[in-house]
């Protein structure tokens, strides 16, 4: 049952990538910021897991809460301290700021913890496998799929049914006009960063779950995945991010199977070339979406 295994694997990978991309796009939608510090929220989330397990000896559910809270807090604080003051400056100023935040967080962890990787003790369920109609798959993969589905449902309820969600959608469309409706700019932007941090935190659990360790540059790979997935799917709507995540997961798994062993270390390079070629044909990504390019001023 190679096919079922491949399918579960691809869907779970796609789910993880979709969560990652979604966190990036939410902030992009409102602030028009490609957040280079996003990977670091995930990295700090990983350290949250590590410290809650090793220092506090917390049970697994508390670890999860700690990890997610660490990511949310980092995201929120970075908005408060760095992004808010440069918000009305140029787009490049914001971009460079986010890179500086990323470098700062990496080096802060380097100084305060260690340059070396730390093992994160995770509950056994993360390493167990399960047999579904002959397909052997890690339980972790099923957890990712389940979590992603719940998160997507909750998030779309938040966006569609609550006033905050309405305000956030409006702000992604026309920021200044939204403010003129009486919606505080800081509220929607902070909310976007908090949700972005939440998604980074949730992704962090599964990302760390694969290698069971965390180091200061853990955030780099997921950041790149989120970047590429969002440009493929379309940066202009949450739907684009989700679609991009799944497409990228599929591409990754297909290349993993089809590339000869000697070329596997170049997989990222291959994926990237495919993506650039695709973007030349369709620069706006798969889903066009309604976000405008208006910048926050």
């Amino acid at each position: 049952m190679m096919n079922l295994e491949f399918m579960i694997n691809t869907i779970s990978l796609g789910s993880l990538y979709a969560l990652l991309s979604l966190g990036l796009v939410l902030v992009f939608g409102i602030l028009k910021l490609v957040n280079f510090a996003y990977g670091e929220y995930l990295m700090i989330g990983g350290y949250g897991l590590y410290f809650s397990a090793t220092v506090l000896h917390a049970p697994w559910w508390a670890m999860v809460v700690f990890g997610i809270l660490a990511a949310i807090l980092t995201s929120y604080l970075s908005e408060l301290a760095a992004f808010r003051p440069v918000r009305n400056k140029s787009a490049n100023a914001l971009l460079v700021t986010s890179f500086a935040v990323s470098i700062f967080l990496q080096n802060a962890v380097l100084i305060l913890v260690s340059p070396r990787a730390r093992a994160v003790p995770l509950p056994p369920i993360f390493s167990q496998t399960v047999n579904i109609y002959g397909a052997v798959t890690p339980v972790r993969n099923l957890l990712i799929i389940g979590t992603t589905i719940s998160v997507l449902i909750l998030l779309s309820l938040l966006m569609k049914k609550t006033v905050l969600g309405l305000a956030m959608r409006a702000a992604s469309d026309k920021f200044t006009t939204t403010r003129l409706m009486g919606v505080p700019a800081n509220l929607v932007i902070s909310a976007a960063f908090v949700i972005s941090g939440l998604l980074a935190g949730i992704s962090s659990i599964f990302w760390i779950g694969r290698s069971a360790s965390v180091d200061p540059v853990t955030g780099a790979a997921p950041l790149l995945i989120a970047f590429i997935a969002t440009v493929v799917g379309g940066m202009h709507s949450p739907a684009g991010a989700v679609v991009g995540g799944f497409v990228y997961g599929l591409l990754f798994n297909v290349l993993s199977i089809t590339l000869p062993a000697s070329m596997i270390s170049y997989r990222d390079a291959f994926m990237f070339v495919i993506v650039v070629l695709f973007l030349l044909i369709r620069p706006e990504g798969i889903i066009k979406g309604g976000y405008t390019e208006e910048r926050v001023g």
């Binding site: 490609v34 990496q106 380097l110 590429i228 170049y266 390079a269 973007l279 620069p283």
Partner: protein
């Protein structure tokens, strides 16, 4: 108009060049004569950094596109020049898996540096062709991803680069004089580029892409040429660097080095040559000072841990502070001109052309 007055007008118009180059030369001479070997090293490194930052400014400063892949071109130039000029004996020992054809190469340093620049430019011409068509956020992300691809290739292609391991035995060539001459040339080239028709059109496309298009500027094309020119200088800078440092690994051409280059450019102000110059000066001084602090703290063992990474962390905070306080950098997008602080053009160049 007499020749003299023509010269005076010319030199007043281009006083920026003199204001940057004369102090650079004077300081270089002074350090060469009286400086300690540490100071000599720092100044040489400063001149090499200056070439890299100025080449970054040529494209990024004038086009407004955050060029992540720049440090990758520096790396290409460094590896190319190193492979071309290192003795076959050294290469066969140091890089056991290298293609035999590459091992055999052995040429003088100066042509090697030139060819390194050309290879970087050709590479820029190939990858720039699709990339310069992508704008805004998609453009930024794809340039960023290209840097990662460069890094992947540098660390994996051990027939050429020795993989993630150090490439050593590169002939030493870059003295303070060489670096200084290189920096002077870079200043002139970057200045000429900025003032040239291409540079002007590039700046127009930065300030308002649609307005530039409407006056007939082919934005994709001017970006493309700018990208290639910048990569050419970046590649040569890489060569000059390689013959100074003599051994290096792909790590030297990745995020943290790119961050330092960006810091140098952004802190001074990416919109002008003067900004790039000031930023490089400032960051070099700050970095050396922080390294001293880092070393002292680590050696004294006053803290229970090593403060490895302090330099980058402080630099990041500094950069954010500058962006909040003066988004156009310290110089603010304008060239410094003679007489200093006097002429203020009524319409400032876009302040936030970071």
């Amino acid at each position: 108009m007499s020749l003299l007055s023509r010269f005076l007008t010319w030199s007043r118009q281009h006083s920026t060049l003199a204001l940057l180059m004369i102090p650079l030369v004077l300081a270089g001479l002074a350090i060469n004569a009286f400086g300690s070997s540490l100071l000599l090293n720092i100044y040489t490194y400063f001149c090499v950094s200056l070439i890299m930052v100025l080449s970054l400014q040529m494209f990024m400063g004038n086009s407004g596109i955050l060029n992540w892949v720049h440090i990758g071109f520096v790396g290409v130039g460094a590896y190319a020049s190193a492979i071309l000029s290192t003795a076959p004996m050294v290469k066969s020992m140091g890089v056991p898996n290298m293609f035999p054809a590459l091992v055999a190469l052995n040429m003088p340093v100066i042509p090697a540096i030139m060819i390194g620049g050309l290879i970087a430019a050709v590479l820029a011409a190939i990858i720039g062709y699709p990339l310069m068509r992508l704008s805004d956020f998609v453009g930024v992300i794809t340039l960023f991803a290209t840097l990662i691809v460069f890094h992947v290739i540098m660390t994996q292609w051990d027939n050429v680069t020795n993989g993630p391991r150090t490439f050593f035995g590169v002939p030493e060539f870059t003295t303070l004089t060489v670096a200084l001459i290189g920096a002077l040339i870079a200043i002139m080239v970057a200045y000429w580029f900025r003032e040239s028709g291409l540079g002007l059109r590039l700046r127009a496309s930065r300030d308002d892409r649609y307005a530039a298009m409407s006056v007939g500027i082919d934005v994709v094309r001017v970006r493309y040429y700018g990208f290639i020119t910048s990569a050419l200088i970046a590649g040569m800078a890489g060569g000059v660097w390689a013959h100074f440092i003599t051994s290096f690994s792909p790590k030297a051409f990745y995020m943290s080095e790119m961050f330092i280059l960006l810091a140098m450019l952004v802190i001074g102000g990416s919109g002008s040559i003067s900004g790039a110059f000031m930023g490089t000066t400032f960051v070099t001084i700050a970095r050396e000072a922080l390294r001293q602090v880092e070393g002292t703290v680590n050696n004294a063992h006053v803290l229970p841990f090593d403060v490895f990474g302090l330099t980058e962390a402080v630099m990041a905070v500094l950069m954010i502070t500058i962006l909040i306080w003066r988004p156009g950098g310290v110089v603010g997008g304008q060239e410094i001109t003679w007489p200093l602080f006097k002429r203020k053009s009524p319409i400032k160049e876009v302040e936030d052309g970071v």
